[in-house]
Amino acid sequence: MKRSTMVLALGLAAVSAGVQANAVVGQTAPAFSVTDSRGKTVSLADFKGKHVVLEWVNPGCPFVQKHYNSGNLPGTQQRATAQGVVWLAVSSTARSASDYRPPAELEAWLKSKQAAPSATLMDDEGKLGRAYGARTTPHLYLIDPTGKLIYAGAIDSKPTANPADIASAVNYVNQALGEALAGKPVSQATTTAYGCTIKYAS
């Protein structure tokens, strides 16, 4: 009995599962309106005419730590925002998860890492994450000034937790931003994101 219940639950999970990814590279990015860590509402529509980066973050994840403790992601953010790019850090971790960080704490942590996102979005319900099909922390997306999604995937080409690999990896986000800002098409528009599972609210 117990076993069959479990199988049923698994089956239901399989049917109802699936992050409803509406976001397809090459098409218009899903619109959103989310409250940020300071209580302000941030909408994608606010940034028409600018490049926008979405970065899923969770300070408790070793893959996020790899790119923050090494200065890789903060550096990428600083370079991007210095060129007029809007960088939105997103937390889709459920409030019930053990590594959930309340807004002030998350902001303080980012600050301690010299991170420089334009805003930090609190997607506690997971709506934004599900709309974009975000699976891991980190998971990165780039939207062009016309609102088209032009990159989705990993921060770089080496799926490991070892900070020593950053030096020899290709930073896909830098690459995509460099190409997009130079008016060129993004050469690697989709890559496989790696990292910790996002703990979505059920």
């Binding site: 399989a14 990814a21 997971g126 099909g133 070892n162 050469s187 528009a189 599972t197």
Partner: protein, 705 residues
């Protein structure tokens, strides 16, 4: 575990019994797992005897590690071995994984007790009383949070004694491996809903049951999506949803299946399948830029095409000197001296021959281009990947050799009307000679010019065809020149008795070619196939003699001819299955003791991720340049030792038989023929390609030794 505690542990074991030291694997314990390196060597450590090592991971409740495709997140466990010379480790034999749903996401991995076994190959170079195996393992262990962990393990195995303390564990892990069933087949089709798979030949007791499918590719599928499936008779129709953010377009894929709700120990099935026509990825990069393989690559497009055409022409000229072509053509050209007067006949013959050669090359190249645009993974030399084609060529060369020896005359063998047609229509005869010349030249074009022609195939169709036409023109040029200027023909030595000797002498290069084709066939289908072909050659020689012998009485010919034909037919029947048989275990595996391992794209990526440089030798038995390099620069003992010291991973991609994965990688590198030598530096997305002729100093320079 601290070093000191590890040391104490060793000390305790050593104090108990020396044998226990050999058996006791080293253990790493964290809060989440207990990991242990274990061994299974029931017959000791000997070449050819089973030898397995394995990482035994006992997870704390609810913690898990990952499968080779971790699913929506996570990382596969990675093993990096340090083994003595002569011993090499294979890949992890992953047991069937389980689905690990995390909210709306799904991972593939393992909970509970898990053994990841790896087969070891021991070569004759390994000489020691103990095998010391060192392992560095990296795994990501997750429950709600994830923790990357690693451990270093050392295990000493006595060579002479059996080691099998965990035999039951290895046996259970063997059963939990996905099996490959010869009769199980998968066909795939892409549509709006995803990848539609039609699976046949699944185990009978699976019929009507719900199955779980685990794709081995990480960046293709929507792992959390539902997998609609229904049985239609003995066939399972299964849909795998494609990820909206797919990042890969693999040509060769594989799937592991298990029954829903089954235990890991019930194992599962692995099925490989192909998907040819992926829609282009958004903003997909153009073909990766390659570093020029040849130092003197001309810069501008127009002149490089011209240079390529000239080179092709020169290559065609050279083909006339190849052992497969020279005997036929030299005799044909010498024959001109007998018709030196009839200028018009000569000219028409020369032009017909040229047309025959050029059109044959164009037809072959056109066929190849058409097949490739249809998604087939073929390259130049593809003809020689077919054992039947190789056999056919060997028989043809055998016959030509016998003809040159004077065993039979074509006229005597051909049916009267056909011989008559040939005699009455010399132009057609010359044209057909051209076709024959291209056919007999093919075992030389592929081995000597495979890479160049392969590169030509990746050009736009018109340019590719122009290059093949130039090659044909070059090949036909000497013949055409001799027919255009009879003065040239007159400059050739006068015909005489020497021609008869020359003709017989020319039979020997022909037989040498047969010898070589036999060796290629042996690589493809094994010794049985090679001997079957020898049998066919023997029977054919008998038949050729019976029908060609001038002085045989009609009655004798009829009797002997009947016998010869019967022998030929019987031999052909006997030989047929051997020539089509499934290939024997890869030759590369047998020589893995030399430090070379069979190639796979995963191994390259994994080694790069570990910071190792990889040297890949794309080779084939029928490729002479490849064999020259393999036995020359690539076999240099000092070089191999230095490569091993630098931990350069040596991989050999054997293209002797058709292999879509290798063809695809060659395509990616902008080549479609072998040899190709590629150096993958850690972190570089495109490898550096080396020239086709290798030298030790060149390799040292390229690998910075």
């Amino acid at each position: 575990m601290s070093l000191f505690r590890k040391f104490l542990c060793w000390l305790a074991l050593a104090g108990l019994a020396p044998a226990a030291l050999a058996l006791g694997g080293s253990v790493v314990t964290t809060e989440q797992v207990r990991a242990e390196l274990v061994a299974q060597a029931p017959e000791g450590v000997q070449p050819g005897k089973p030898l397995w090592l394995g990482l035994l991971i006992r997870h704390q409740p609810h913690w898990h590690t990952y499968w080779k495709n971790p699913g929506d997140s996570g990382l596969p466990t990675a093993l990096s071995w340090e083994l003595p010379a002569g011993v090499s480790a294979g890949e992890i034999q992953w047991p069937v994984p389980q689905r690990l749903p995390v909210g709306p996401l799904v991972n593939y991995g393992y909970e509970g007790d898990l053994l990841l076994p790896v087969a070891l190959t021991v070569g004759p170079e390994f000489k020691s009383e103990t095998l010391v195996a060192k392992l560095r393992a990296d795994w990501l262990v997750c429950k709600e949070v994830c923790i990357p962990e690693s451990g270093e393990f050392t295990l000493k195995l006595p060579v002479a004694a059996a080691t099998a303390p965990q035999a039951a564990l290895f046996e259970r892990s063997r059963v939990a491996q996905p099996r490959v069933l010869a009769e199980a087949r998968a066909e795939a089709k892409l549509d709006e809903a995803g990848l539609q798979l039609s699976l046949e030949g699944l185990p009978a007791d699976w019929q009507g049951k719900t199955l779980q499918a685990f794709p081995e590719e990480a960046g293709v599928f929507d792992h959390a999506g539902a997998q609609p499936q229904r049985w239609e008779g003995g066939r399972l129709l299964l849909t795998l949803p494609i990820s909206a953010q797919r990042s890969e377009s693999p040509g060769q894929l594989a799937l592991v299946l298990r029954q829903d709700g089954s235990e890991r120990e019930q194992g599962g099935l692995r099925l490989a399948y192909a998907v040819a026509n992926w829609p282009a990825l958004p903003g997909a990069a153009p073909a990766p830029a390659l570093q020029p393989a040849e130092p003197a690559a001309p810069a501008s497009g127009g002149s490089s095409t011209l240079v390529a055409l000239l080179l092709a022409f020169a290559g065609g000229l050279l083909l006339n000197l190849m052992p497969c072509v020279f005997p036929v053509l030299s005799l044909k050209v010498l024959g001109f001296t007998q018709h030196a007067g009839e200028r018009r006949v000569l000219l028409a013959g020369g032009l017909a021959y040229t047309a025959g050669v050029v059109l044959s090359f164009l037809a072959l190249a056109g066929l190849l281009l058409a097949l490739r645009s249809g998604g087939a993974q073929l390259g130049w030399g593809f003809q020689l990947q077919s054992p039947l084609f190789v056999s056919g060529l060997a028989l043809l060369f055998g016959l030509i050799g016998l003809n040159l020896l004077g065993v039979f005359e074509i006229r005597a063998v051909l049916p009267g009307n056909l011989a008559g047609a040939r005699a009455a229509n010399p132009v057609l005869d010359h044209g057909l000679t051209g076709v024959l010349a291209v056919l007999v030249a093919s075992p030389c074009t592929a081995p000597f010019m495979g890479a160049a022609l392969g590169a030509a195939l990746t050009l736009p169709a018109v340019e590719a065809l122009a290059i093949f036409a130039a090659l044909g023109l070059g090949m036909a040029a000497p013949y055409l020149a001799a027919s255009l200027w009879p003065g040239l023909a007159r400059a050739l030595p006068r015909p005489g008795v020497w021609m008869k000797h020359f003709k017989i002498l020319m039979a020997f290069p022909m037989f040498a070619t047969v010898l070589w084709l036999l060796w290629v066939l042996g690589q493809q289908v094994g010794i049985d196939g090679a001997v079957a072909l020898l049998g066919l050659l023997l029977a054919l020689a008998l038949a050729a003699w019976v029908y060609g012998a001038q002085d045989l009485k009609p009655r004798g010919r009829a009797v002997l001819g009947g016998i010869a034909l019967a022998v030929l037919a019987a031999t052909a029947l006997w030989a047929w299955p051997a020539l089509r048989e499934a290939p024997p275990a890869s030759a590369v595996q047998a020589e893995s003791g030399s430090g070379w391992q069979p190639w796979s794209a995963d191994k390259v990526a994994q080694a790069q991720a570990e910071g190792r440089t990889v040297l890949v030798d794309f080779t084939a038995a029928w490729c002479v340049t490849c064999q020259f390099n393999k036995r020359g620069a690539l076999a240099d003992a000092q070089l191999l030792a230095d490569l091993q010291a630098r931990k350069v991973l040596l991989l050999r991609a054997d293209w002797t038989r058709r292999d879509a994965a290798i063809s695809q990688e060659l395509n990616r590198l902008g080549r479609s023929g072998v040899p190709v030598y590629a150096v993958y530096a850690p972190g570089a997305s495109t490898p550096r390609l080396l020239p086709e002729i290798l030298s030790v100093s060149l390799l040292r320079e390229a690998l910075a030794l």
